[in-house]
């Protein structure tokens, strides 16, 4: 077991990503996601968006990274969950932060509350949680 002492309310260190148009093209290509809201500005506006938006799975990757960095090299991310609250536009800075919600569940699991802010920081793009196990 890890010697780390984890307490409820402890902060999860922030992780961030600023996905530009190139990021979205690369991510869309490798996941075979051709949805036009991610790269076609005119189409995105016709869908009621202000421009191309970040893929849900890329938000998920940032949530996973926040949980994985908290768990550490020998830890394990067992669950990640997020709900999309507002579209994140291409070029906006995404920052996932969080706190420890619970410690000592099944097998010493730790539950984290996570939130992703985008742009200048006052817009919540996603809320979610993660379950990690430390070793």
């Amino acid at each position: 077991m890890t010697g780390r002492h984890i307490v409820v309310g402890q902060a999860v260190l922030p992780v961030e990503l600023t996905p530009d148009a190139i990021t979205l093209l690369r991510f869309g290509a490798v996941t075979r996601n051709a949805h036009r809201i991610h790269y076609d500005a005119e189409f995105a506006r016709s869908e009621g968006l202000s421009g191309p938006v970040v893929m849900a799975q890329l938000h998920g990757c940032l949530f996973h990274r926040a949980a994985a960095e908290f768990a550490g090299e020998d830890g394990q991310v067992r669950e990640v969950e997020w709900q999309n609250r507002a579209p994140a536009r291409v070029g906006e800075r995404l920052v996932v932060t969080g706190t420890v919600r619970a410690v000592g569940g099944v097998d010493g699991e730790i539950t984290l509350d996570l939130v992703e802010h985008c742009g200048t920081g006052d817009v919540v793009c996603c809320r979610g949680r993660a379950v990690v196990a430390l070793r």
Partner: protein
């Protein structure tokens, strides 16, 4: 009643398909593809982005982020908005707007290079949400597996407007 007749159609079709399991092959996981995925997601850890690293691991989000496996899809498999016709239940051929609602991912075992991934999925809930025009919230349960058994379980939500 939705004022949007196409949304009514989606709801009717979706409810009729609830509980029916579909299968899709996502092909064989290649270390190089998983590493490319990790790089595109902004990762820099050598164990995720370097297939030659002694401790290389397939990024845990890789398999669940794939909408299709190689060799991809034919042009006839896409909607005009670029989504796959069969990705969101009940929407094929209809001019409705699609958005992701979120996911819950539960890892059972790690995917490895060389795993042949099979996806099974079923629609488990169809809910009307919002006021005015309103929208549909569809919940899909997905199970990703290989010859080694279940690897990941996902609950995914789609917004249809």
């Amino acid at each position: 009643m939705f004022r949007n007749a196409e949304l009514e159609q989606v709801e009717e079709r979706a409810r009729a398909s609830m509980g029916r399991w579909e299968r899709r092959s996502l092909g064989v996981v290649r270390a190089e593809d998983a590493a490319e995925f990790a790089r595109a997601a902004g990762e820099s850890a050598p164990r995720l982005v370097d297939p030659g690293h002694a401790d290389f691991a397939v990024h845990p989000m890789y398999v669940v982020s794939l909408l299709r496996g190689a060799p991809g899809a034919d042009a006839s498999e896409f909607r005009p908005d670029g989504m796959y016709r069969d990705e969101v239940p009940g929407t094929d051929g209809l001019g409705v707007r699609l958005m992701a609602g979120g996911q819950a991912v539960r890892w059972v075992a790690a995917a490895r290079a060389g795993d042949r991934i099979e996806l099974r999925r079923t629609l488990t809930a169809v809910e009307r949400k919002g006021s005015g025009e309103g929208f549909l919230l569809l919940t899909v349960e997905k199970v990703y597996g290989s010859a080694r058994g279940t690897l990941v379980e996902v609950t995914e939500r789609f917004i249809v407007r």
